[in-house]
C-alpha cells in the first residue's frame, strides 16, 4: 500500500512535467488502483462490453455468463452495451481501451469480420484485438409464417419453400439490414440455391425481422437459432431451414439442413461468441478471464439455461478463439469472390436493389 501512495504522490508532483501520453498511462493505472501485479488480477470490478443493445442474443449470453464468472474472479462484472454501426462502434471503442484486462468485450466473427470489411473500416483491424476465449455459437435459420405456409399448401422444408416462392404462393423475404451478412446470404440463396423470392425486404436487425415474419408481413425470413425458438413459441412461425453446419435437431427435430441443397454456408451463417481484449492486453490477465469463462460455460446453471433456451454453449480456449477471427476477413473475401465475384460486386448488388426501388 505504501508504494502505491508514493506513486500517487509522484504522480501528483509530476503532473505538470509529464506529457499527456505518460500521464494517461499513470492515471489509468493509479486512478484505477490495480497496479501491475498479475497475481492480484482482478482487484476491482470489470467491464464487459457488448457491442449490441440490451436484450439481444449476444447480450443475453453475457448476462447469463457474467454472474457465474464473478465467483471465480471474485469481482463484479459490469455489462456495458455500446451498440451501433453493426457492432463496429463498440469494437472501435474496445480497441481504444486500456490493455489492463479490466475491459473486454464480445464480438461475433465471422459476421463481425464481414461487417468490418463491408463498412470499409480503416481505423483498426479485427486482428488488433487479443483473443480470450469463446463461449458459444449461434447462427441463422429460416423461419416461415405459419398462416402463409398453410395457404401455400404446407411449407416444411427448403424445397417446399423454394416451390412456394417459385409459384408465387407466398410473398416477401425478410433479412436483417441492407449490406449485412444476412443480405449477402439472401443473395447467395437466390444465386446458388434457387430461392426465387419476389421481394427481399431489409429490416432493422433481428427483432424487427422476426416481428415481420410473425406478423405475416413477409412470408419467411432470417432468425438466429435462439430467436427461432422464440418465434416458434409465439405460435405464429416455424423454423424450417438450418443454414448452419451445426446440428440443431435436438431443438428443432424436423429442421431441414441447407447443406442438403448445396455447399455449406457456415462461413457466413455461423457465428461465435468470442471474447476479446484491447490490443496488447497481457496474456496472464487474459488467461484469468479465459478460466473464468470456462468455469461459467461448464456451470450447471449454464447447462440448464442452454437446454431451456436453445442457446448453444461451447467453450473454446484462447487459440480456438483466435482461430475464429484471425484470417477470417481473407476467408470471407475469397468466398465472396468465388460466389458472387467480390465485395465490389456485392456493393453493386446492394445499390442495384435500391435502384429497382426508384
Amino acid at each position: 500500500m505504501f508504494s502505491v501512495i508514493m506513486d500517487r504522490r509522484t504522480f501528483v508532483q509530476t503532473t505538470g512535467a509529464v506529457g499527456a501520453v505518460g500521464l494517461t498511462g499513470l492515471a489509468g493505472c493509479l486512478g484505477d488502483d490495480n497496479g501491475d501485479n498479475g497475481d492480484d488480477f482482478p482487484s476491482e470490478s470489470l467491464t464487459w462490453m457488448i457491442p449490441w443493445g440490451e436484450g439481444g442474443g449476444t447480450d443475453t449470453y453475457a448476462r447469463q455468463m457474467a454472474p457465474l464468472m464473478e465467483d471465480p474472479l471474485d469481482q463484479s462484472i459490469e455489462i456495458d452495451n455500446r451498440e451501433g454501426a453493426g457492432s463496429m462502434l463498440g469494437s472501435e471503442w474496445l480497441v481504444q481501451q486500456d490493455p489492463d484486462g479490466y475491459t473486454f468485450g464480445t464480438v461475433n466473427p465471422p459476421g463481425w469480420s464481414f461487417t468490418w470489411r463491408a463498412q470499409d473500416v480503416d481505423a483498426w483491424e479485427p486482428e488488433d484485438l487479443e483473443p480470450i476465449a469463446y463461449s458459444g455459437v449461434f447462427g441463422y435459420t429460416l423461419i416461415v409464417n405459419d398462416d402463409a405456409a398453410e395457404d401455400a399448401g404446407g411449407i416444411d422444408d427448403f424445397e417446399s419453400l423454394r416451390d412456394a416462392y417459385a409459384d408465387d404462393e407466398i410473398s416477401g423475404f425478410g433479412y436483417q439490414g441492407a449490406g449485412s451478412d444476412s443480405h449477402l446470404t439472401t443473395l447467395l440463396l437466390r444465386e446458388e440455391y434457387d430461392l426465387d423470392y419476389d421481394s427481399a425486404v431489409p429490416y432493422d436487425g433481428g427483432g424487427p425481422t422476426m416481428e415481420a415474419v410473425i406478423g405475416g408481413e413477409v412470408a419467411a425470413g432470417f432468425a438466429t437459432n435462439t430467436s427461432a425458438v422464440a418465434a416458434e413459441e409465439s405460435g405464429e412461425a416455424t423454423a424450417i431451414v438450418n443454414l448452419m453446419d451445426i446440428d440443431l435437431d435436438h431443438v428443432f427435430p424436423d429442421i431441414d439442413p441447407i447443406t442438403d441443397y448445396g455447399d455449406s454456408l457456415a462461413w457466413i451463417t455461423e457465428f461465435y461468441q468470442v471474447q476479446v481484449a484491447p490490443p496488447e492486453t497481457p496474456e496472464e490477465e487474459r488467461e484469468v478471464l479465459m478460466d473464468a469463462i470456462q468455469e461459467a460455460t461448464e456451470h450447471e446453471e449454464t447447462q440448464e439455461w442452454e437446454e431451456e433456451t436453445g442457446n448453444i454453449v461451447e467453450f473454446g480456449d484462447m487459440d480456438d478463439a483466435a482461430d475464429q477471427y484471425v484470417g477470417s476477413v481473407e476467408e470471407i473475401e475469397s468466398q465472396v469472390d468465388e460466389s458472387i465475384g467480390g465485395f465490389d460486386e456485392f456493393q453493386r448488388l446492394v445499390e442495384e436493389e435500391e435502384d429497382e426501388e426508384e
Partner: protein
C-alpha cells in the same frame, strides 16, 4: 382457469416482501426518471443483475416498478424545471412547466400523479380484460402502419403550431433534417458523419435536453427570482385543485390512456410518440386550443394519462412475442429470460405463466397507487423548488443535464448537441418558432424514413400499400391514412362547410 390465475396473482402480490420490492422499484424509478437523460432503460439495466437472487415474480415486479416509477419521476422534472427526465414525458413540459411558472406547480404535480394513476388503473384493467385483442392488434401493425403513425405525428405540427405557418414548418423540417445524420437505414452510407461518434446520429434525448432544459436555464439566467413568477403561496389547496381537475376531465383521461396504450403497443414507434399524439389530440379536440402551451391543465392531463398507458401497452408485444418495443422493454425481456421465463403465448395461458403475467400487471396497478400516494404527499415540498432563487437552480439543472447526457453513452457529441440545441432552442422560443414542431420532427424522422423505405420494398415501390386494402390487405393503413387526411384538411373543410351554410 383464468380466475384461479388471477386469485393466485393477488395472493402472490399481497406479501410483505413483494410489496417492499415494488415500493423499492417505484422509488428507484422516480429517482432515475427524474434525472435528465438517464431514463428507465439504464435504471432497469443496473437493477437487472441485482434481481438474480430474487425469485422470478419479485424480480419482475422490481423491474416493472422501476419502469413505472420512472415515468412519474420524468414528469416531476418536466413540470418543475422544464427538463425531460424521460422522453415519454416530453409533452408534459409543454403545459406543466408554464403552470409552474404561474405558481401552480402543486396543481400540475397533483394532476400528474392523479392522471397517471387513473390512466394506469384503467389501462391495466383493460390489458387484463382485453389482452387477446391487443395481441391481435400488435400483429396487424406492420411497417406501413408504423410509417403512417409517424406521419400522423408529423401532421400534428399543424395542430400545435401557433403563429406563422412557415415558421412552424421550418421548425418541423429542420427537426427532421437532424435525424438524417448517421447511418442510412437502407444503405451503408454514413450520412454527414465524418466521425464515428455520429454514426448513430444525433441522440434525440440530448436534443430534448438542450431544447428544453438548457434553453430554459439560459432564459432564467436573464431573470430575477424563482421559476414561479407570481407571488403565490404553494399549499395543499393546489393538490385538491389538481385532483379535482383530473376528475373533471374523465374523457381526456380515458382517451389519452387509450392512445397511450394503443400507440405504446406499437413496437419501435410507440413509447416515445404516444404522449405527443395524446397531447396533440387534446389540443385538436379542445374548444380553446390557444390556451395550450401556456399552462392548460388538460395538456398535462393528456400527456400524463398517456405515458402510463404506454407502460401497459408496451408490455403487450414484449410478453406475448418477446418483441422489445423500446429499450426499457428489451431490458424487461432480459429480466424474464434471466429467470427462465420465455415471452410467448404461454405467458397468457392459464396452464402456463398467466399467474405471473397477472402478478406483473397487478404490481403495475399497485405501483400506480404508490405513485399516487407518494406523489400527492410530496407535492408541496416539490413545489417549493419553484420558489427557490434560480441562481441555485440553474447550475444544478445544467450539471444534472450534462451528467445525465454524458453518462449514458460517453459520447462527446451528446454534450455538444445539448449546448448547440440549447442555444438554438433559446432563440427559437424567443422568436416564436415552435420547439414542439422541431421535437416532433426529431422524434419521428427516423421512424418515418426507415418504414417508408421498407414499406415500398414490400409493395415494389407502390404507394398504394398505404391506401388500398383490397390488394395489400392492410385495413389499418387505410384507416390511418384517412385520419391523417382528416387531421390536415379537416379544419379547412369544416370552415368551407360553415361558410357555405352561412351564405
Amino acid at each position: 382457469m383464468t380466475v384461479e390465475s388471477f386469485v393466485g396473482a393477488i395472493e402472490a402480490l399481497l406479501t410483505v416482501e413483494t410489496m417492499i420490492w415494488l415500493l423499492a422499484g417505484v422509488i428507484i424509478g422516480i429517482i432515475v426518471g427524474g434525472l435528465p437523460g438517464l431514463g428507465p432503460p439504464l435504471g432497469m439495466a443496473i437493477i437487472l443483475p441485482l434481481t438474480l437472487p430474487l425469485d422470478a415474480a419479485n424480480a419482475i415486479i422490481l423491474l416493472v416498478g422501476v419502469y413505472s416509477g420512472s415515468m412519474y419521476g420524468g414528469s416531476i422534472a418536466a413540470i418543475l424545471i422544464n427538463t425531460p427526465g424521460v422522453s415519454s414525458s416530453a409533452a408534459t413540459m409543454f403545459d406543466g412547466y408554464p403552470m409552474s411558472q404561474q405558481g401552480r406547480a402543486a396543481t400540475a404535480l397533483a394532476i400528474s400523479a392523479t392522471a397517471s394513476a387513473f390512466a394506469g388503473l384503467f389501462t391495466i384493467a383493460a390489458l387484463i380484460l382485453f389482452s387477446p385483442a391487443l395481441i391481435e392488434m400488435v400483429l396487424a401493425v406492420g411497417t406501413p402502419e408504423r410509417f403512417l403513425v409517424a406521419i400522423l405525428g408529423l401532421a400534428m405540427i399543424t395542430v400545435v403550431t401557433r403563429g406563422s405557418l412557415a415558421k412552424g414548418l421550418l421548425a418541423g423540417v429542420a427537426g427532421l433534417l437532424v435525424t438524417t445524420v448517421g447511418i442510412a437505414p437502407m444503405s451503408l452510407d454514413q450520412r454527414y458523419s465524418e466521425t464515428m461518434y455520429l454514426y448513430d446520429g444525433i441522440d434525440f434525448v440530448a436534443v430534448l435536453i438542450g431544447l428544453f432544459a438548457i434553453a430554459e436555464m439560459m432564459k432564467l439566467a436573464g431573470q430575477e427570482g424563482g421559476i414561479a413568477k407570481d407571488e403565490v403561496t404553494i399549499d395543499r389547496a393546489g393538490i385538491t385543485e389538481g385532483v379535482r381537475s383530473t376528475i373533471n376531465h374523465p374523457i381526456t383521461v380515458f382517451k389519452s390512456a387509450n392512445i397511450g396504450m394503443i400507440v405504446g403497443a406499437i413496437p419501435g414507434a410507440g413509447a416515445t410518440v404516444s404522449n405527443f399524439v395524446a397531447y396533440s389530440e387534446a389540443v385538436r379536440s379542445s374548444s380553446d386550443p390557444d390556451s395550450f402551451g401556456s399552462g392548460n391543465e388538460i395538456g398535462v392531463i393528456a400527456s400524463e394519462a398517456s405515458n402510463n398507458g404506454t407502460v401497459a401497452g408496451s408490455l403487450v408485444p414484449a410478453i406475448s412475442f418477446g418483441i422489445p418495443g423500446s429499450s426499457s422493454t428489451a431490458v424487461l425481456i432480459g429480466g424474464l429470460l434471466m429467470h427462465d421465463l420465455r415471452p410467448g403465448p404461454s405467458m397468457f395461458d392459464p396452464s402456463g405463466e398467466l399467474t405471473l403475467t397477472y402478478t406483473m400487471l397487478l404490481a403495475l396497478l399497485v405501483g400506480n397507487v404508490v405513485i399516487l400516494l407518494f406523489g400527492l404527499s410530496m407535492v408541496t415540498q416539490l413545489g417549493y423548488l419553484t420558489k427557490i432563487d434560480t441562481d441555485y437552480i440553474i447550475p444544478m439543472v445544467i450539471v444534472l443535464s450534462f451528467l445525465g447526457t454524458y453518462a449514458l453513452r460517453i459520447n462527446p457529441i451528446d454534450i455538444l448537441t445539448v449546448i448547440v440545441f440549447g442555444i438554438i432552442g433559446f432563440y427559437m422560443v424567443r422568436y416564436n418558432y415552435s420547439v414542439i414542431a422541431f421535437v416532433l420532427g426529431v422524434v419521428l424522422g427516423d421512424i418515418a424514413e426507415e418504414n417508408l423505405y421498407t414499406a415500398l420494398q414490400l409493395s415494389d415501390g407502390s404507394f398504394m400499400i398505404f391506401v388500398n386494402p383490397l390488394e395489400y390487405g392492410r385495413w389499418l393503413s387505410l384507416i390511418l391514412s384517412v385520419l391523417i387526411v382528416l387531421l390536415i384538411f379537416g379544419p379547412y373543410v369544416k370552415q368551407w362547410w360553415e361558410r357555405r351554410q352561412a351564405v
